[in-house]
Homo-oligomer: 455 residues x 2
């Protein structure tokens, strides 16, 4: 099947309404918008024909649950997604208002367009098609509002309701493909350990002339600490950091590096002269199968225009690590806190606090769900999808695997150029429409496979 143009236009207009809601989960100032987005999601499921829909209140942002089944004996698919979005900062780098979506060059530009509202909406529209065309299915939808802050309330919800949520396959569309020419399915995602460091020197901002030279500068001490977190070979220096990392075989590494990748295009796109990272690994490996450490933010002292001769009292940084199987984010967070704290000299005070974490996860290409998805991609894209490693984290995946089923399929339709988490995030309309077709093909193939099996 291919979508007709009337449907395409309608789907796009509906998506634009969805993207207009600034559902930023990390900042309480947007609480009302979060509620609005949850209800928009619920209403969209109702309009698509879902039989049961609910907005489930939590201690934080609500979860939207929807259900649609033509035959409860069919393998049950659980679709996971999120309606919350990253903050739009730095807002001045956007070419437009991040929450007044525009269509430009075949893309819809708005915060959340690719991550993840656009991809959630594809599943809603696929459901509408299944209903209208009487395609057999048995689907439970679980759309949360706290993915960008680590799903603190979805996790207990899943654990408490793992009987009700029991399913055979989990479909998640919150990742990217290599390119429209090279469809792919993510079979590995990195975990996350996210820390905030606060170094305090003197109890107040001082005049750098009067005190400079005799009183430890917390910004210098913080810089020294951060500078020690990686060695000259690009390896993270936290003791025990690599203890549980699964080393891939040469064969597996060969397969990973065989995927199409143009380093010179990569560098040109980012306007960098050189890539960097852990010695003896390729760029695909560094972002796929190896853990990493980044400073996500740093601030201290006077950051306005001109000059201010201040010796700051406080210096702070947000530091996060991407983890790979089988690192455990709680273990890494503990090791990192201990190590970072130990690096502070006696001249300053240090406090290391943790934000949310996420476990890494791996998915087998031999799973039933993966094989159905593989076929669906061939139907729509005319090509077998490549299994790929994704650098980002989906905190909930390892929990879904643990609580519900190992058979998670990361059927993501983002592209590298979507600029997720960055200014001018956008989502390709081609991916949006073909993604809907791929999801429909997935349910078609699932039904055919069951029917064939039963005959």
């Amino acid at each position: 099947m291919t979508l007709n143009n009337n449907d395409k236009d309608r789907f796009l207009n509906e998506l634009i309404d969805y993207l207009s809601i600034p559902s930023v989960s990390t900042d309480d100032a947007f609480k009302d918008e979060i509620i609005k987005a949850a209800h928009f999601t619920k209403d969209a499921f109702i309009e698509a024909g879902a039989e049961e829909t609910r907005v489930v209140e939590t201690k934080g942002h609500p979860i939207v649950v929807a259900h649609s089944s033509t035959d409860d004996n069919l393998p049950r698919v659980l679709v996971y997604g999120h309606y919350d979005v990253q903050p739009a900062d730095p807002i001045e780098l956007w070419d437009q208002d991040p929450f007044l979506p525009v269509v430009k060059n075949g893309r819809v530009v708005a915060r959340g367009s690719a991550d993840d509202k656009g991809q959630v909406y594809m599943h809603i529209k696929a459901l509408e098609y299944l209903k209208k065309n009487n395609i057999p299915h048995n689907i439970l939808f679980l759309i949360e509002g706290e993915e960008e802050i680590g799903s603190p309330n979805l996790a207990p919800f899943i654990i408490d309701n793992n009987d009700v949520l029991a399913c055979d396959i989990i479909l998640v569309s919150d990742t990217s493909m290599i390119s429209p020419q090279n469809p792919s399915i993510t079979t590995s995602i990195r975990g996350l350990s996210y820390l905030e460091i606060k170094v305090t020197g003197p109890n107040r901002d001082l005049h750098s002339g009067t005190y400079g030279g005799a009183v430890a500068n917390p910004a210098i001490e913080l810089s020294k600490i951060l500078a020690q977190l990686k060695d000259e070979r690009g390896r993270v220096t936290i003791p025990g950091f690599y203890d549980d990392v699964i080393e891939l075989s040469q064969v597996e590494r060969g397969k990973l590096n065989a995927r199409p990748f143009d380093l010179s295009h990569y560098k040109k796109d980012l306007d960098i002269k050189e890539v960097t990272g852990e010695a003896s690994y390729t760029t695909l490996e560094r972002t796929g199968i190896r853990p990493s450490l980044d400073i996500n933010g740093i601030w201290s002292g006077y950051t306005g225009k001109g000059s201010k001769t201040v010796l700051p009292s406080i210096a702070q940084a947000k530091v996060s690590m991407r983890l790979v199987a089988n690192q455990n984010h709680e273990d890494i967070t503990r090791k990192a806190k201990t190590y970072i704290t130990s690096l502070a000299p006696r001249t300053v005070k240090i406090k290391v606090e943790e934000h949310h974490g996420a476990q890494p996860a791996m998915m087998s290409v031999d799973n039933f769900g993966y094989r159905i998805a593989d076929k669906a991609f061939q139907d729509v894209w005319g090509k077998r999808p490549l299994p790929t490693y994704e650098g980002g984290s989906l905190p909930i995946v390892s929990l879904l695997q643990e609580q519900l089923t190992e058979d998670v399929v990361l059927m993501g339709f983002g592209l590298d150029e979507d600029r997720i988490h960055s200014p001018n995030e956008s989502f390709s309309l081609e991916m949006f429409y073909k993604g809907i077709e791929t999801i429909i093909a997935f349910y078609n193939n699932l039904f055919i496979s069951i029917k064939t099996n039963n005959e």
Copy 2:
């Protein structure tokens, strides 16, 4: 003489009006307030009885010039001060509005109270007294509005008018005394070299999951650069940095260290466990006769609440060095720019720009002006003032010395607890009133000394 209580109350109320004007020089948003403060200064001189007063326009903020003379054959004293103030940031750490002055515990609390409006106003009120009591004097006042941004327009004004500004003694009240029990006169001030560093990685903020591990993080690279600027002995690593530093003799160091100083009180006041700095020097030496380097500000990436998994595009820092005689700030700035630039790896771009600089300066205790001031302090404080080294910079002093006279007297009435450049800056009323008396005593002693000499 001692001031009567009516005058004291009136002087304080006038000062409060002066401090209510937010004359922040570094931010153009305050341009109107700067103009207002300049005219307030001029009007105050007129009311005090100055014969000629002018607001001199410049390319930047105006200079206020005032003149009062009972006898042009008397040694001419030039009084320098500034009506501009540091920004009030971080404004949330003030217990009150920085520009709604309040009197608390014998202090007037407001931005600029000690640095330098309070001290400028002492000279205006001293002039009023000289006029009312017919004390002979010959004074030229030069009050600028750009001290906190490096006096870019006062310097050419002095050079262009060095004949008109010719004088015998220069009086500057913009420094501190040790304590009310230990009056002191500053005989050495440090210079300043102030740089801003910008490190650029990728051309946009990236998702730290997708790219982390393969693309250089500018905040990490900046941290590494900053961490290298001092070695483990607390010495600045810029090649040639110490080349021109005058090493004081053991005798001179002994004198310097003999001034009253309580290290445990110093640490307690700042709430720090340990002081730090260049090995083999005392705290008084580290802040007086040795150069230093500080980070005044650093910023990159996401600095809001919660977490954002961003690999930032840009990281920036403000870094400044305090210099001592005979370091030259232009030479040090050049060396620092070259060195810092050389520390950046090929994976990032770096730009180092300079803000204002200042030459260090030394003043001899054998100067005529110093000896008059020494006597004035004895009259008012009942004790000889100690010559001291001040860690801060007064960019204009070396220029005043070069263009007008070596005989600069830094007759400052600040105290360590004034928190200049910090939240809750305040100025002691005792120092304010006794300072006015000291200035009056200075002119009295100057006249007596001339009369005695001529007899």
